[in-house]
Homo-oligomer: 241 residues x 2
Amino acid sequence: VISLIPVHGLPEIRADDDLAAMIAERIELADDDVVVIAQKAVSKAEGRIVRIDDIEASAKAIELAADERDPREVEVVLREAKNIVRERGPLVIVETQHGFICASAGVDHSNAPEPGTLVLLPVDPDASASRICDALRGLTGKTVGVIVTDSFGRPFRQGTTDVALGVAGVVAMLDLRGTTDRIGYELRSTRVAIADEIAAAADLARGKAEGVPVVVVRGLHLQGEGTGHEIVIEPELDLFR
Amino acid sequence: VISLIPVHGLPEIRADDDLAAMIAERIELADDDVVVIAQKAVSKAEGRIVRIDDIEASAKAIELAADERDPREVEVVLREAKNIVRERGPLVIVETQHGFICASAGVDHSNAPEPGTLVLLPVDPDASASRICDALRGLTGKTVGVIVTDSFGRPFRQGTTDVALGVAGVVAMLDLRGTTDRIGYELRSTRVAIADEIAAAADLARGKAEGVPVVVVRGLHLQGEGTGHEIVIEPELDLFR
């Protein structure tokens, strides 16, 4: 049996907060636990916040905003983007500097620390996960893993699901090639994005509006050296693109 | 706390097996439980099996198979497809008759009942989920939900995650629009494909090679009238396509 355990009682996260210590104080961790942390909490602790009044919109941002969105917000999205993948009205799907394809480069004002601010994705979510993982292991002596997640839309299907942006101490891609099923057939197409499945599972215990940014997934045996970067696919290998 | 509970001890499923009875015999269900069933078990119980020797490959199937794949298998894929979305070598991404976009129309020979057979997706996964949901509610008196799942690849990200094909008795899309976050902002882009997240969570407890087709997700409070069909997006609304 696997358990999805929300970590209650975390305060609003501020820049330079020690997330690992705040988590370790609130839950007794065990070996193999995967600590799943919403990107927004990580970004806030890392100070990845911009004040909208400090931003000047470019001509491109004003054009994209099309009077339907604050052009300064669009400007922040453009600065976080490597490429624009789709433009439709004021909504922009981009490839971020990390290689993620998502709406608005993950820039969001919901759950921002105060009005007039925007939260950006961490600069390097794998590095964020590693730092928190190391700190948690140091504080607890337990071989935990960490996944930093965000809610992404996707092609072909409605709605968002949570996915893994940064991973440390746990397998990200589970390769079942070479294993066989009950009648001895080799299982095909069986590279499972297990870190994305863990991210999605954790979201079930989160309750988006209630502000529970950390969920512990207990009962997996998936220690490993996965990264979020592994899950990002090169365009030329992407059969669906 | 949410629990992901694998249902052990199910035999190989055969045509006309009573899946609901087989599940109810093996686990004590509770109100609000979501019973997550791998598509292959449902398809086998529904007799959605073809014998490869009974298939004659069309010219198109022979061309697509390109000497790398049994053209009769490709023929079965083509018969299950409404459109071909991508062709690359012997791999075909299609839109199925249901509107799902997936590799090989979900046709698979892994975990097939015997060599030389292929398992197809259920004809109507929502109807399959409804039938099993009704039967489980009748047998147990508990207000359970049912989700029929499969492992799908997706654009932009490596690997598969399990998604919901058929849903009954449980919410499929969780609409958080109109709810506000801690500082009072309305949450945007917050239609969560919760049935896909439940599907992904259940896969964590499954162990693909070991043949555990049924997982119970306990601790959610998501009774509702969701369908798998709701999650399928109309191409003209698909910002990512």
